[in-house]
Amino acid sequence: MDDLIVKTITKLVVPFIQLYGIFVILHGHLSPGGGFAGGAIIGASLILFTLAFGVNHTNKVVPPSVTEKIETGGIIWYALLGFVGIAVGTSFLSNKIAGFPLGNYGSVISGGLISLATIGIGLKVASTMITLFHRIIEED
């Protein structure tokens, strides 16, 4: 679309949407949300950017090769976190027994494995949503 109002408002609003998405991801163990919801919010902000500025401009800002690498990196990050439990001696995906730091109750750095894993999940969901949208909207 070539509308000036849409482009200006999008440029102003997208950083706030992404900030809200990062907040939902990082507070996954304290309030509702977590990896899926936060990743969907960040993905939605990038879809808004695509709708306002066109697919070509978005491909220059967030190239498809970068999103592919983030997708792969999300799963490998999750598997590596699980293997920490095996390396210490307990089962896969152990939390407190494997020695992840459980800080004060109610703060952000508590819950050990959970916040680290949700960062991986959130990034993967966001990159998947942007990839799906670009595939569907491209004219073959």
């Binding site: 997708e71 792969t72 799963i75 699980g82 439990g85 095996i86 089962s91 896969f92």
Partner: protein
């Protein structure tokens, strides 16, 4: 220390290999060795797990060291590890076959995506076999459903996309029914773990009999829809005949059996054999199984396309497995579980040899098979061995599964099932024997009567030879598999938590 975590190693190896496959260009030298190497290492790990379970007994694996009741756990017994090993070996052979064969269906740039989907399919199948938790079963089942639709529609053809859409819609109805059934079970018992549920189920049965009946009907309908029992099989012929050859081999050989095995797990471990005999649900399963056996063969007789014929024959063969489950004695379960592995080998051989014929000559119609035995002797030899097994000639493993089914039917005093098994063997012969005879004995006016060597690549010849030999070996020595099943049977008949 390494032997405790073997299920996790196998699964994570497959997952990471599936995710990093698109990063390698298909024309580089590292692509094929990486694929084959991953599955070989996974098969070696599965063999190690089988040896460990055979010597030490079954074991539980808890994720995150949580207790069984609140966490997810895997339960690996003797038959589970044998099934995992069989799935991995057959998938390895099918992927070796597909290295050359897939190039005439999809362009070369898309082959990394195809192999990502295949590796994710194997990953989800292994997860479904090993799990002991009802919701974990549902999650792996969804991964399997989506990726199996993906390997059909990766070929951009009108018929493929329509068949894949039909499979997606009907498969989703099945998944949603299963989720509703699991929700109703959770509502009454309060547990999602199969062991914990089976402990509380007998007291729940006194209080809420109708709830368990409804939830069981939803779960059985959903699983029957995905495993293609007779009235609910309408997606199977289109999907399995339009797909590329390696996809139809793995779909028809292994994927529909996984749902039958999940039905065995839910019926015998969660619900327990007393409640099953009280509602007599096994009798209704045998009725549907018998109808499926006969009608599948009847539909297959009139088909002209070779792949559609093999797809309808799958409907008939899955009826044997359900007949074994429905008889619900020890011998019946032995017959059903033996037929799962035996039919996987036979059906993969049939589909792969049909694919080799299509690759070399482009012939798909059954009445044009004259004289092909002289042009492609190895391919049609493997086809004939597997076809004789489906008919039930002694020496191939198909005969042994019919033998065990007959023994089981005789034990419970219903010899009418033996008559139906004989009728279906006769019907199988009606549509398989003309192909074998016309390939080797008829003259054709297009080619000479001199037997020449097969003109197909080595990566396509080797899996056919290995699978054909495996059919004969397990037919002559069935005790390799039956001993494993009989050691694992106590965990099905009386599940002690």
């Amino acid at each position: 220390m390494i032997s405790n975590h073997l299920p996790v190693y196998i699964l994570i190896l497959l997952l990471i290999s599936a995710v990093t496959t698109p990063a390698i260009k298909p024309s580089s030298k590292k692509f094929r060795p990486k694929l084959v190497g991953t599955l070989t290492i996974a098969s070696l790990l599965a063999l190690t797990m089988f040896i460990v379970v055979w010597t030490n007994g079954p074991f539980y694996y808890n994720f995150g060291n949580w207790d069984s009741v609140i966490g997810i756990e895997f339960f690996v017994d003797e038959y589970t590890s044998l099934f995992v090993l069989a799935v991995l070996l057959i998938s390895l052979l099918i992927i070796i076959f597909s290295l050359e064969d897939i190039l005439h269906d999809i362009p070369k740039e898309k082959t990394p995506h195809y192999y990502t989907l295949m590796l994710l399919m194997v990953f989800s199948m292994l997860g479904m076999i090993m799990t002991n938790d009802l919701f974990n079963l549902y999650v792996f089942m969804e991964i399997l459903s989506l990726t199996s639709c993906g390997v059909i529609s990766i070929k951009r053809n009108k018929a493929n996309i329509m068949a894949s859409f039909k499979y997606l819609m009907l498969g989703t109805i099945g998944s949603v029914s299963i989720l509703l059934g699991i929700a109703m079970l959770y509502m009454v018992t309060g547990h999602l773990n199969m062991g914990a549920t089976s402990q509380t189920i007998s007291s729940v049965w006194q209080m809420y009999p109708r709830n368990i009946l409804i939830s069981l009907s939803f779960i059985l309908t959903g699983l029957g829809l995905k495993a293609a029992i007779f009235p609910l099989h309408v997606w199977l012929p289109d999907a399995h005949s339009a797909a590329p050859t390696p996809s139809s081999a793995i779909l028809s050989g292994i994927v529909i059996k996984i749902y039958a095995f999940s039905m065995i797990k839910i019926l015998f471990r969660v619900i327990g054999i007393d409640i099953i005999k009280a509602i007599s649900i096994n009798e209704y399963l045998t009725y549907f199984a018998v109808i499926s056996i006969v009608m599948g063969s009847v539909f297959a007789i009139g088909q002209k396309d070779i792949k559609r014929l093999l797809a309808y024959s799958s409907v008939s063969q899955i009826g044997y497995v359900f007949l074994g489950i429905g008889i619900a004695t020890e011998m019946g379960l032995v017959a059903g579980m033996y037929h799962i592995i035996a039919h996987a080998m036979m059906k993969s051989t049939l589909f792969l040899s049909a694919g080799a014929v299509i690759y070399r000559t482009g012939i798909r119609k059954v009445n044009e098979f004259d004289g092909l035995g002289y042009e492609l002797p190895l391919t049609l030899g493997a086809f004939s061995i597997a076809a004789l097994g489906m008919i039930g000639i002694p020496g191939v493993n198909g005969f042994m599964s019919k033998w065990y089914l007959g023994l089981a039917a005789f034990e419970i005093g219903k010899p009418i099932f033996i008559i139906f098994i004989l009728i279906s063997s006769f019907l199988n012969a009606v549509y398989f024997l003309p192909i074998v005879i016309s390939a080797f004995l008829k003259e054709s006016n297009r080619r000479e009567q001199i037997m020449i060597r097969d003109d197909i690549p080595f990566t396509m010849k080797a899996p056919l030879v290995v699978l054909g030999a495996a059919c004969i070996v397990t037919g002559l020595f069935p005790n390799i598999i039956v001993n494993v099943i009989q050691r694992a049977l106590p965990t099905f008949m009386t599940f002690v938590f």
